[in-house]
Symmetry: C2
Subunit: 464 residues, 2 copies
Amino acid sequence: MEADSKSSRDVQSLLLADATTLAGMLAREEISSVELTTVCLQAIEHRNPQLNCYLHIDAGGAIAAAQASDARRAAGVPLSIFDGLTFAVKDNIDVAGMPTSNGLGYGAHAPRADRDAAVVAELRAAGMIPLGKLNMHEIALGATNDNYHWGRCENPLREGYTPGGSSGGSGAAVAAGLCALALGTDTMGSVRIPASYCGVAALKPGRGQWSLDGVTRLSHVLDSVGLLARSGRDLQALWKLPPVSHLPRAEEQAVLSLQTMRFAAMTLDSASDLDQEILTAFAQATSALAGQTASLEARDCIGMDFSGVRRAGLLMCEAEANVTFADELAQGQLFSLQLRKMLRWGAEQPAPALVRAQDTVQAAGEWLAQKLEGVDFLLTPTTPQAAFPFSEPAPVNQANLTSYVNMAGLAATSVPLGVTADGLPFGLQVIARAGDEQRLLAASVALENFLRATSAHTQDLENH
Amino acid sequence: MEADSKSSRDVQSLLLADATTLAGMLAREEISSVELTTVCLQAIEHRNPQLNCYLHIDAGGAIAAAQASDARRAAGVPLSIFDGLTFAVKDNIDVAGMPTSNGLGYGAHAPRADRDAAVVAELRAAGMIPLGKLNMHEIALGATNDNYHWGRCENPLREGYTPGGSSGGSGAAVAAGLCALALGTDTMGSVRIPASYCGVAALKPGRGQWSLDGVTRLSHVLDSVGLLARSGRDLQALWKLPPVSHLPRAEEQAVLSLQTMRFAAMTLDSASDLDQEILTAFAQATSALAGQTASLEARDCIGMDFSGVRRAGLLMCEAEANVTFADELAQGQLFSLQLRKMLRWGAEQPAPALVRAQDTVQAAGEWLAQKLEGVDFLLTPTTPQAAFPFSEPAPVNQANLTSYVNMAGLAATSVPLGVTADGLPFGLQVIARAGDEQRLLAASVALENFLRATSAHTQDLENH
């Protein structure tokens, strides 16, 4: 196989190319889907024992699907520009014939899904190839992916460090090049946090924009299915892939100028408990943006009761999980002791406490939605910190900047913002109205390009 | 005063004229607002001791407002076609300067509102005159208006009978001619049930259509503010009254033909526990409609778990009321023992029980919304029975046909459908999509006219 003859460096650059680049190679017949898929499966075989991002791999199904894709290309009838590219799926989203463990202790006996979740079916209808199921924080309630049953998922950028969560396997697999794209879920920040910690891009669509059919519920109101990719333009290309064969080429995507867009940046001070490096990088990025956009306003975060809102969101999840997982809880051994305790607490709260939590969450959402008044996009850092070692306790504020977006039902992306002195990445969150995802993605691509250029420029200056 | 010299029969026909008729008389200067308001206040003085529909009356404020209205008319600048007409307000909706008791045991010490609820402000801005506050079921949780603190509100059509609830005072005041229009609230059917029992018309707008600002919450998701009137055309005229002085005349309202409208009728069998007279009248009305409409389909009610859905809706209210009335509950003596027990039960349910109730309510709403597919309007009886004596226990199914509409967030009206052999009225419910209120009201007027004509025709046949 040609891929076997490639140098290790060639293979690595192939794995880490973004989906748009790979789609171009497929379109130009520089590589076949079978070759790409084989390289990916070999890399999984090689790296997954250490990274532990895949819980289930369907190598045979993937190769068969790749052969079918290559046949469509040869016949001139690809299903989309992404026909023949791989994707991997968080283990709380159904893929027909594959197990769905929700990160619980099923071992080899997780129930298998009869049919694809709606979002998986859409990617499959675009010719994409599901490789397998990905590690996650137990039932998606937590942001370290230190999974009691399945083991830790490692951050590909540093051993012993969390990839974030709850979609940690999705962040790690995309960052390590073990799939072209990954699906995750995001209830309080669970696709954006791993994107920030792993240095990749993520989209959480607005409420109701992507079907949750076939996705295990954590919180009815807060849940979104989301997408992780190695570039913002991949997210943009995938958003509503045309289902027919008259396809725009990836290169033809609209690249909007920042000059057409109105931004606001959240003013965050030390009270918001962000790492100083992230505060500085965010301030530098937003001041560099001044004059580059149609407008750039400031929004304070007065009135943000981070801890009260966090507890309210958690109670909603803990109460609802008692209903979603009623059967599984009855089986007992499927849950870690820690999660069982959390859910018992949720079960013991009186109904009016849940009413108060829902009220708090709604008010928090309305608070954030108001910040968008007069602008198109609101900027914040994605996470208050970069990835941390599993040996340290998880900071309570991991989802502080992301969870409000779910409460408001808004859409958001995370794109790489910078790297700590210690060499770990962190993200920029771009927030937009639900339904405005297309412009959000165009803005995210423009920002990604701008930040890359600015950072290169800064490095040039420092080198002089 | 001229009104004093009118015969009792003239006064009665003036009181029972609909708002549109009264507006025409004002426009033609056949009567003044001061005269109309005075007649109304005298009738209240005369009848309220028995009916007990008003808990608070602002006679002085009303006369002053009527004088101001007459001055605007004289100057040729009325604020709307309804400028100078009276309205009364359920006692869970704020009117600036008036008490808001929510039907609790405040006696003379209910807190007074600082400002008008949004919907009251709108009527006032249209020149309408608030007469006072109306009796209601305690905190709007119940449908008989047998109020422990304030006493029973009587059905004006028969002594000792319930006017329905929870907006019983609104239904009674409109039916007795003690205001031109009344505001109520509707969480499971609380404006439509009194309309059905009292033989008047009511509108419950769709979710989000009328502001709940200044309205005491019972259930965040299910609450609507609504309107009761003596005719469907009054509801139609009031819906979004033009706030400027270029006003259409009442007679110019669009009267759409039933031939342009697509209907479905709910098929209800004996299992749905409706009184036979109502089932028969509903079947006769819908079969008379055949051929008169663009289409007339049937919808079954398979899958309607009336009792499960009722319990779910009640739990939502009971849990939320613990939060809304937390301060009042701490005072103790404001609540009847029965209500206190209900709320204690709500406070003791675990949070996951509320999650299950919310899920049940959402599913019930989705179930009903699907019934509208392919048609514009869905028809059901409003209530399973006509008004009943206070001496009998309240049937548990009072809100069975109305509560699903709140769960779905849809809009609905009730217009008079028929009269039992015993002489008590019952309503026809017309359900439409939220946002489609204008067409819903046109359809309701057309149906009201059609039913009136059909019933006259039937009576003619019976007389031969």
